[in-house]
């Protein structure tokens, strides 16, 4: 019955939004982690979403669930600050901090959370529809 595919689609979306929320949490937690080495400092992480067209035979192309293909690191250059007193400062006295904008991360978090709630609603409504169909004739 085609309605059961909704659970796959909505489930994949919930999982993808969770990954997105995890990356936001990581970015916010590490926003102030400094390092003396430009290469090893934390860089903001972003998930890459992709649509997966599935379905076999006649139903090919009917299901489009979403998937996180990879989590990429930001290309932005880390911010350099002059702190000679910092124990992790490099030879010139600079420390490098990741270029993370907390406002941008909060907006991303709100968007992910809203998307998550939408997909929960989709699953609940579909479940009720299916249960009502089962009660047909009673």
């Amino acid at each position: 019955m085609s309605s059961f595919k909704i659970f796959d689609i909505a489930g994949s979306a919930l999982s993808a939004q969770s990954v997105r929320l995890n990356t936001v949490a990581s970015n916010l937690a590490n926003a102030n982690t400094v390092s003396g080495d430009k290469e090893s400092v934390y860089k903001a992480r972003y998930p890459v979403f992709e649509t997966v067209i599935a379905g076999i035979g006649r139903d090919a192309g009917s299901t489009a669930s979403v998937r996180v293909t990879e989590v990429i690191e930001s290309e932005k250059a880390p911010l350099a600050r002059y702190e000679p007193g910092n124990p992790v400062a490099d030879a010139d006295g600079f420390v490098y901090a990741p270029d993370i904008n907390p406002v941008e991360q909060m907006v991303d978090m709100i968007s992910a959370s809203r998307s998550f709630q939408n997909n929960i609603e989709v699953m609940n409504t579909s479940k009720e529809m299916l249960l009502a169909t089962l009660r047909l004739g009673q």
Binding site: I9, A10, F49, E50, T51, R58, T125
Partner: protein, 137 residues
């Protein structure tokens, strides 16, 4: 011979198409953040009239006993939905090519769910009418 298909009529096709449509809208909502994804929906009126034309509950005239009566649901609901599916016109421009408007999709999903329940209700009452006729109570 009593024809159950003709009695329930287009409600069976409507139910199948509604469930297919709810799947398409769920797909749109799931891909609300995917870059390059284009929202789709089925033109319900067109799809339902297509189902009727293809022999949903319409039977072919049989003048001899060997003639076959028109099969019902000869076109699979997946094919029917795909043939009537169209792309949504994007309301606002977007940077990453995603054309899903979440509010629109949510509203469409709710509307579809309510109409599904309505159609289910009709089918249910038809069936219960039959049961009343059968049992006499």
């Amino acid at each position: 011979m009593f024809d159950l298909d003709a009695h329930i009529g287009l409600h069976a096709d409507a139910l199948r198409l509604r469930s297919k449509r709810s799947e398409m809208i769920a797909r749109n909502l799931a891909n609300a953040d995917t870059p390059g994804f284009e929202a789709r929906d089925i033109d319900f009126r067109q799809a339902l009239s297509g189902a009727r034309r293809e022999g949903g509950a319409v039977s072919l005239t049989a003048t001899q006993s060997q003639h076959l009566r028109g099969g019902n649901a000869s076109m699979d609901n997946a094919q029917l939905a795909e043939s009537a599916s169209m792309y949504r016109v994007p309301v606002a421009p977007s940077v990453d090519g995603n054309t899903v408007d979440v509010q629109l999709e949510q509203a469409a999903f709710s509307e579809n769910a309510v109409r599904y329940q309505t159609t289910l209700h009709f089918v249910n009452s038809k069936l219960r009418g039959l049961m009343t006729a059968l049992t006499g109570q």
